[in-house]
């Protein structure tokens, strides 16, 4: 066997070892929420010992030390690879559900044309439920100060003016309800019309249209 062939036989396993190390450091299950400050202060250490008992508490503090002294520094170096390929290895896939049932509504003049997961009001539903747009609908529906109100709002206003040329106003309303109950209440919203040059402007909750069945 030639030297090159011999080296090739070792190159793959060496790469595999690096990948094991890379995933272990950057994506250690259960450690994604642990920062350098976790269980660092005396107060935090006493609290965790009181909460979990002295043995498990001490083990948790020991793990936090390893996380702070070894995993995080190595992980920050490997972060360059993660950033280049956008392969950040922190996975928190549905660790908990939402507290409320939030929806986004779109009104053209006084007519409700879209409501999240509403079979009766499906204007632009296919687009808004696409996985690329759904996260924006999610943040806009759940947070009054969502960063992407402007982008999502402009997109919907433009689409409404295209599909409803006679429209005088477009109103976007975020609603909230408790799970399983139909106690839907509007939480925040924006309206655009000719007076505002079709720019969305925040409007008080009491002026929002109410679609409660």
């Amino acid at each position: 066997m030639t030297t090159i062939r011999r080296l090739q036989n070792h190159l793959g396993p060496a790469t595999a070892l690096f990948i094991v190390f890379f995933l272990l450091c950057t994506g250690t299950p259960g450690f994604s929420a642990w920062s350098a400050q976790t269980f660092r202060s005396e107060t935090a250490q006493q609290r965790i010992k009181a909460q979990l008992g002295p043995q498990i508490g001490t083990a948790a503090i020991w793990l936090a030390d390893i996380n702070r002294d070894f995993r995080l520094p190595i992980s920050s170096k490997l972060n360059r690879i993660e950033r280049l390929f956008r392969i950040r290895q922190t996975w928190a896939l549905y660790t908990n559900g939402p507290n409320h049932s939030c929806r986004l509504e779109a009104w053209v003049d006084d007519e409700l044309v879209y409501r999240t997961r509403d079979a009766q009001h499906r204007w632009m539903a296919l687009q808004l439920e696409h996985r690329k747009l759904r996260p924006m609908v999610d943040s806009v529906a759940s947070k009054a100060n969502a960063f992407n109100w402007r982008g999502m709002g402009r997109f919907l206003v433009n689409a409404a003016r295209r599909d409803f040329p006679e429209a005088q106003s477009v109103t976007l309303v975020a609603t909230r309800a408790r799970f399983g109950l139909q106690d839907t209440t509007p939480t925040h919203g924006h309206r655009a019309n000719a007076e505002t040059q079709w720019q969305l402007q925040s409007i008080p909750v009491e002026q929002l249209p109410d679609s409660t069945p």
């Binding site: 995933l23 908990n96 996260p135």
Partner: protein
């Protein structure tokens, strides 16, 4: 035999190249289908332009390079990504196409961070692993045109690493769920109920299912058990049996949630899980070191 030698032999043991070829075609076809869907809905322009040029997202990622080049750089990159993925599906210049495709895919993710989801990171990670595999040695148009016979086996370590990636993903999700006491609580609406009936992601009717908790408690427990037991994927003989549960989990997600390509993207990695069953028992051509 020393530890390193055992590791080398373990990594270089042969696996069927159909495993890698199936992953290669599945992942690339998934990306192509996702882009085609975006085009069919008429929103590709909004997604891949910056906010200043009529796009949706009011912010770009820290590593965004496309936004500053040209207003249409995102659309050009999208076209290039399509070209790369077509090459990957066909098995033409597979490895360079995978690398260029992953870099372009990442650049597009930076241009539109809200739409760059967990599954996109998973697909990119898996494609990077495929670069080291023998995915180009089977079901390749390029080899067919050049009259080269397909290679039946290649080293197993990229499939092992794909399973290791799955372990990290599933175990993180499982440990995360155990950290939320609501998953194991018998009082109040189960966590799985709020996830599957969330109008923004789930498909089930919150009112209809309200009070009928037991399917969600059982489903939640099964999910946690499956995710926490995912290290079993590291045992090649047990992995396919665990994989049957994993397939059930992702088909369940596909039926009850509107997460787009997520369940299908995960299933595209499953040839690595079923590698033991897919590998034919014939002797390997010889990438195994036996010096």
């Amino acid at each position: 035999m020393n530890i390193w030698r055992r590791w080398v032999d373990h990594c270089n043991r042969p696996t069927d190249t159909r495993v890698y070829a199936a992953m290669r075609i599945g992942l690339a076809a998934l990306v192509l289908g996702d882009i085609a869907h975006l085009y069919a809905l008429g929103v590709a322009d909004e997604v891949y332009h910056t906010f200043q040029h009529g796009g949706l997202s009011a912010f770009a990622g820290k590593t965004d390079v496309l936004g500053g080049i040209h207003p249409d750089a995102g659309m050009v990159a999208l076209g290039f990504l399509v070209l790369c993925m077509l090459c990957v599906v066909a098995g033409v210049a597979t490895r360079p196409a995978l690398l260029a495709g992953v870099l372009t895919y990442a650049a597009l993710g930076s241009l539109y961070p809200p739409g760059d989801r967990g599954i996109d990171r998973i697909v990119r990670s898996a494609m990077l692993l495929l670069i080291f595999s023998g995915s180009h040695l089977r079901w390749s148009l390029w080899r067919h045109i050049r009259g080269r016979a397909p290679v039946l086996h290649s080293p197993a370590w990229p499939a092992d690493m794909t399973r290791w990636l799955l372990v990290v993903i599933y175990l993180s999700a499982g440990v995360g769920k155990l950290g939320h006491s609501a998953w194991l609580s018998w009082s109040g609406p189960p966590e799985l109920y709020t996830i599957l009936t969330d109008p923004l992601a789930g498909r089930l009717d919150a009112v209809w299912w309200h009070g009928l908790w037991w399917p969600f408690w059982v489903g939640g427990l099964v999910t946690i058990v499956l995710e926490v037991s995912s290290p079993l994927l590291l045992w090649k003989r047990i992995a396919p049996w665990w994989g049957l549960g994993g397939v059930g989990l992702h088909l369940g997600i596909a039926a009850t949630m509107g997460l787009g390509i997520f369940p299908w993207g995960m299933l595209a990695l499953y040839p690595a899980v079923f590698a033991e069953w897919l590998t034919t028992p014939q002797p390997p051509p010889s990438p195994v070191s036996k010096s």
